[in-house]
């Protein structure tokens, strides 16, 4: 069994790299977009709040696979013809943005109203209130669930093999197709995903501890 894994590992490396790459791009872009939309959901004018709320609710109610197929097979009909890699990343970003929006909303919502009152009372306008009072406090509540959610992006990325993107899952399936050793190889694949995600949840826990010294 170890021999089969040792044989397969070199073939899996490019896929592993693709998985990490897709996850990183997805997380980076969705965090920026999700943070902006999340702030819009909390503080924005009513029409913006409705749009963001609807987007988040709808996306979170759709399986990732359906999102991916919608982007890859559905959008070309509207003229937007994406390569598998781009379609995969776009689908995952849409999924992840909705998550980040909720992370941001939860983090800001957990800050007592009195903080905003106090910031207003010393004469800070909205952008400064956000930057110096709300964001630093919201950040420590945002990071643990956000980092936890990154594991969803990594796990969800296994589905992009179905669009023909050469990720880790795709690599495993190719080797299984040659060697007919599904137990060893899927087991090893599961182990690789687990290692990535376990490292992330350890980091998430460490962050939680790092910020816990600030009590209310």
């Amino acid at each position: 069994m170890l021999g089969q894994i040792a044989y397969a590992f070199p073939f899996l490396l490019p896929g592993l790299w693709t998985t990490l790459e897709v996850s990183a791009i997805t997380v980076a872009i969705s965090t920026i977009v999700g943070a902006l939309l999340g702030v819009g959901l909390v503080y924005g004018p009513a029409p913006l709040r409705w749009v963001v709320r609807a987007f988040s609710d709808i996306v979170r109610g759709i399986p990732i696979l359906v999102l991916l197929f919608f982007v890859y097979y559905g959008l070309p009909i509207t003229g937007l013809n994406l390569q598998p890699f781009a379609a995969a990343v776009l689908g995952l970003i849409v999924f992840k943005v909705a998550q980040v929006i909720e992370n941001v909303r939860g983090a800001i919502g957990s800050i007592p109203r009195g903080q905003t009152d106090a910031a207003k009372a010393i004469g800070l306008p909205f952008p400064e209130r956000l930057a110096y009072v709300i964001a630093p406090q919201a950040l420590r509540r945002f990071l643990p669930p956000w980092l936890n959610g990154v594991t969803d992006a990594v796990k969800g990325s296994a589905l992009i093999s179905l669009l023909g993107v050469g990720d880790l899952m795709f690599g495993i399936q190719k080797v299984v197709g040659r060697t007919y050793e599904p137990l060893a190889l899927y087991g090893f694949g599961a182990f690789l995903y687990f290692v990535i995600n376990y490292a992330l949840s350890l980091a998430s826990r460490a962050l939680e501890r790092r910020f816990s010294y600030i009590r209310e």
């Binding site: 910031a119 009372a121 010393i122 004469g123 800070l124 306008p125 110096y132 009072v133 406090q137």
Partner: protein, 261 residues
């Protein structure tokens, strides 16, 4: 009692939450250097009124002027609100201290005071730090400058809250039940700070349940109940045995009874 044109002029201010009217046409004036205390039963609109003065709450009708400038609206008749920047500029002229302190938990005591000084008053960090230390000294907390709020007692936190407000050199200080959340043995240290500020001529509008403090420290006491001003007079008239306002007499009676226990 100090004389002069009113620094704060509240005229016929009305406010409703849905069908409930919490302020029913309040009139109140505070002159420069005056300490005015608002007392009255819970739910009588005291805190709401105070929060209207720096526009943490908007009001539906009437006018609130500080130093001749309308607080929340650039056009009172048309109810056109000031812009965000404009509101912030107006709020910087009033200082507020809160019942639950509302210190910024991620900033040290000194940084809590410095934030407004650097971002609103545009002082350099060094100037702001000097000023913060000066005010921390005034409230007896020089040695706590670099402590986080969570490392301070309630009384110490509230003294930082006062220092944060007065360091901005506001025209008027609004105190919202600032000892209500404190253990009884910590109330004195906070009130002492307020008394020393009053002695220096700081203009204050104080909402409090500390009737003794109201009697000893204020130039005028305003009794608010049911969203309206029931009495507005110097302490000795408020506490006079022949006080004509029955509701006020009842309110004060309950307090003295409670204190005799």
């Amino acid at each position: 009692m100090p004389i002069g044109p009113p620094l704060l002029q509240i005229q016929n201010v009305q406010k409703s939450y849905g069908a409930t009217q919490v302020l029913r046409g309040v009139d109140l004036r505070v002159a420069k250097g005056e300490v005015v205390t608002v007392i009255g039963p819970s739910g009588g609109g005291k805190t709401t009124l105070l929060r209207c003065v720096n526009f943490l709450e908007s009001y539906d009708n009437g006018s609130i002027m500080i130093d001749g400038q309308e607080v929340g609206y650039r056009d009172v008749a048309a109810r056109k609100r000031r812009s965000e920047r404009d509101l912030a500029r107006m709020r910087a002229e009033t200082g507020m201290v809160f019942q639950l302190f509302n210190l910024f938990p991620h900033l040290s005591a000194a940084e809590n005071i410095m934030l407004g000084l650097t971002k609103v008053r545009k002082l350099s960090r060094r100037e702001a730090r000097d000023k913060a230390l000066h005010w921390l000294g005034r409230v007896g907390l020089t040695d706590k400058a670099d402590r986080l709020p969570s490392e301070l007692s309630g009384g110490q936190q509230q003294r930082v809250g006062i220092a944060r407000a007065v360091a901005m050199e506001p025209k008027i200080l609004l105190l919202d039940e600032i000892t209500s959340a404190l253990d009884p043995e910590l109330v004195g240290e906070v009130l002492d700070v307020v008394l020393s500020l009053a002695a220096e001529g700081m203009t204050m509008l104080v909402v409090t349940h500390e009737i003794g403090f109201a009697r000893d420290a204020s130039h005028r006491i305003v009794f608010m109940a049911g969203g309206a001003v029931g009495a507005d007079a110097p302490p000795r008239e408020i506490f006079a045995a022949d006080q004509p306002n029955e509701r006020l007499r009842g309110f004060l009676g309950r307090f003295t009874a409670a204190h005799r226990l």
